[in-house]
């Protein structure tokens, strides 16, 4: 996004990417069949995704380790490719709401952002209009409506779940995904193959190489160098940034790139790693870190996945295509702000619910455990029974807010370097009762929704498994670690994501985040980056940096 805004304004921009080039039109594996891949496409090595998922990288990258403090379970997903995780993400594009920018003012927990929803609203507008997001105006508390393309009609099983939610007074409204349901700025509309995770060969969903980089490159102002592993930001005697030092992955030699302004958007943990590895006489504690805030207040989304319902009313339906877009057409935004404000719930922050199932692409585990429904058997009866069962299952997931805590942070491991010679990160992470009880509430809510629709919970998690709360980093929404603030003593960046200690250094990924709402971070990253980039242009014009 920074490259997009800055090049349009006439800036000459050099983009350094740690991974390789990625061309969705050429590299996308959408419309392939799992049976064409090894082991029925069950898994892509190093990921928890299927074989054809677009990710290049995963939980472990050979030669690029990370470490943990004892007792920490942190899982770090890195995509080493142009455009990073924007190539294969879920496209869920939810605005943070007014409460999410001032959580501390609301309930005394966590911290306030130095900006308000109103400060960012114009940039949410611009980002949505540029990338194309579908949705509907629903006037839900703390889930602001946006500039929407028409949403796709619900799937058959989604109607059933929606009715159940309505009976329970849980809002179930069109989802908001950055998938275009009509042609948008020259990109063709979605063709509903539901394979967004494989990246889209027709650019019908948002990824930065298909939406942001082409117009940036068209200005003639953008150079991109791939396979460049940046190791530190270089600073001069006056403490200003002068450029970066990177390792050319092919030659393993250092290259230094000079620039008047440095913008970091390496993904929040990598950005903070860069800052901490950029010590100098002027910045003895790492760059932008006189406050000690860099690395601190690491957050991920609270996830509760894998509650599955079996719905007899969905058995043996006339065959139909349940694919649609690559994600849910309906979702349930948090509905208990009132109760929480009155302290009627034992946890302080909420979650939204996603769900999916029905007649999905059959995979290796298809119709497993059939003996539970069909009584066992084999032969013609089993075959007919399987056909009836197919499509009768729906799974539920929650995605909720984590309150930043002092025990969740990353730091540089002083004993380990990666294969490029760069000190690696060491993670500390824990959930508090607020997060664990939120997961419990989600499990209870899933059960209510399933049973109200005449279904049976066939898989879920209980107290002994901590309600199946996700492991740290597992939801792949890590934010924070170089937070913005209104005071330099407690934050790394000012309200424009400009480093207090180094005024020609900016951050445009999720490192500046002060809270992690129950909304997926990407849309807020885009809006914030746009605002920060416009500020850079403004400041350059005024000769302030």
């Amino acid at each position: 996004m920074a490259a997009y805004v800055l090049t349009q304004a006439g800036a000459k921009v050099l983009m350094l990417e740690a991974g390789g080039w990625y061309d969705t039109a050429k590299d996308s594996k959408m419309l392939e069949w799992d049976y064409q891949a090894p082991h029925r496409g069950a898994v892509k090595p190093n990921t928890t995704f299927g074989y054809f998922d677009a990710a290049v990288g995963g939980w472990q990258i050979p030669g690029e380790p990370y470490t943990h403090a004892p007792g920490t379970d942190w899982n770090w997903f890195r995509s080493r490719m142009l455009g990073g995780r924007t190539n294969h993400w879920g496209r869920i594009s939810l605005r943070f709401g007014p409460y999410d920018f001032k959580p501390y003012s609301r309930d005394g927990k966590g911290f306030d952002w130095p900006i308000t929803y109103d400060d960012l609203a114009p940039y949410y507008d611009k980002a949505e209009e540029l990338i194309g997001v579908f949705g509907a105006d629903n006037h839900i508390e703390n889930a602001p409506d946006g500039k929407f393309l028409p949403p796709p009609k619900p799937r058959c099983y989604e109607f059933l779940i929606q009715k159940s939610c309505q009976k329970l007074h849980i809002p179930c409204i069109p989802s908001r995904l950055s998938i275009i349901t009509q042609p948008h700025h020259g990109r063709p509309a979605c063709h509903y193959c539901s394979q967004c995770g494989r990246s889209c060969a027709t650019s019908s969903n948002f990824s930065s190489p298909t939406v942001l980089l082409p117009p940036a490159m068209a200005t003639g102002n953008l150079d991109i160098i791939c396979n460049a592993m940046v190791r530190e930001v270089l600073t001069g005697p006056d403490g200003r940034a002068t450029g970066v030092s990177y390792i050319d992955k092919k030659t393993r030699k250092e290259v230094q790139a000079r620039g008047k302004i440095v913008v970091l958007a390496a993904s929040n943990c990598e950005t903070s790693r860069l800052l901490l590895n950029s010590s100098s006489a002027q910045h003895p504690n790492g760059l932008a870190n006189s406050s000690g805030a860099v690395g601190r207040y690491l957050m991920d989304t609270v996830g509760a996945d894998g509650t599955v319902g079996f719905f007899p009313v969905l058995m043996d339906l006339p065959p139909h295509n349940d694919d649609g877009v690559g994600g849910m057409h309906l979702y349930m935004p948090w509905w208990n702000y009132g109760k929480q404000f009155k302290n009627q719930l034992p946890f302080a922050r909420g979650y939204h619910i996603e769900f999916g199932g029905g007649r999905h692409m059959p995979g290796v585990g298809e119709l497993g455990g059939s003996e539970r429904y069909l009584g066992g058997g084999y032969g013609p009866e089993l075959k007919q029974g399987c056909r009836k069962l197919y499509g009768a299952f729906v799974g539920f997931s929650s995605r909720g807010e984590m309150i930043p805590n002092d025990e969740s942070y990353c730091e540089v491991d002083k004993n380990v370097v990666d294969e490029w010679g760069i000190p690696v990160l060491k993670f500390h992470f824990k959930w508090t009762e607020d997060e664990i009880l939120q997961a419990r509430h989600a499990r209870e809510t899933f059960r209510e929704i399933i049973e109200t629709a005449g279904g049976e919970v066939v898989q879920t998690y209980g107290a002994r498994q901590n309600w199946g709360i996700s492991r740290g980093g597992e939801i792949i929404h890590e934010v924070g670690t170089a937070r913005m603030g209104s005071e330099r003593s407690t934050s790394a960046l000012n309200p424009y994501c400009q480093a207090w200690d180094c005024k020609n250094l900016f951050i445009t990924d999720a490192a500046p985040f002060v809270s992690n709402a129950d909304k997926n971070p990407t849309l807020t990253i885009l809006a914030l980056a746009w605002r920060t980039s416009e500020h850079i242009v403004d400041q350059v014009k005024k000769h302030n940096i």
Partner: protein
């Protein structure tokens, strides 16, 4: 020196490039029969080309392979809609999967096959594959119904559950099985029409007959502004 990236990106895609992408897709599926024959001719997928002789066994001995083949076809036989599990490549899938996963599952299946031959020899003086069809079914009936099996057979009921899951999952994720269900997706849909009315009415009917206390009929407009 790192190469500069000046390659094409997806955003520059033109209509003829789109057609190139879409022409790689099999023709829109027509239910069953004709589509099945056409797909097998034109798709060239690994599953269609695979035969037992082309596949290199990784886990099963020749005898275990033959036993799995017979078991697979007893579990998922051919019928008017699709062929049998072995014809859809399930033995090769299971062999490969056990090699891929190893561990407890591999032990479970190999152990179960060992036991099956043992029991058949004790009762019928033949390995499972050499028993008559009636004898084979008698053996399977003992372990295929969890609620009816004797407690002493519980380990082998568990084995058969694992085996059934492998055959069912292997069949229904195969090209043949995908069409059997049928799964009608993974294709280009120019206009998304939502849920077909006949499916909605069937769900509504099911809600009534199963007395769920919900109706799809009311209040659908409230979801859209």
């Amino acid at each position: 020196m790192s190469e500069k990236g000046n390659g094409k990106l997806g955003g520059a895609i033109k209509r003829r490039d789109m057609l190139k992408v879409f022409s790689a897709v099999p023709a829109v599926l027509v239910p069953f029969g004709t589509a099945l024959a056409a797909e097998q001719k034109t798709s060239g997928s690994a599953a269609a080309a695979q035969t037992a002789s082309a596949y290199q066994r990784k886990v099963f001995s020749g005898h275990e392979w033959e036993t799995i083949k017979v078991l697979s076809d007893l579990i998922i036989p051919a019928d008017e809609r699709s062929r049998s599990a072995s014809q859809a490549g399930v033995p090769a899938f299971i062999d490969d999967w056990l090699n891929f996963k190893g561990g407890k599952l591999k032990a479970e299946i190999l152990g179960g096959l060992t036991w099956l031959d043992l029991e058949c020899n004790r009762e019928f003086s033949h390995d499972f594959v050499s028993c008559t069809s009636t004898q084979q079914k008698k053996m399977l009936d003992r372990i295929a119904y969890p609620d009816k099996a004797v407690p002493g057979d519980s380990n082998y009921v568990a084995f058969f559950n694992y085996l059934r899951d492998l055959v069912v999952g292997g069949f229904y994720s195969s090209e043949e099985g995908v069409k059997d269900l049928p799964y009608l997706g993974n294709k280009v849909v120019p206009v998304w029409e939502g849920c077909p009315p006949d499916v909605l009415s069937q769900i509504e009917q099911n809600l009534k007959t199963k007395r769920v206390g919900l109706s799809l009929a009311s209040d659908q407009e409230s979801t859209q502004s």
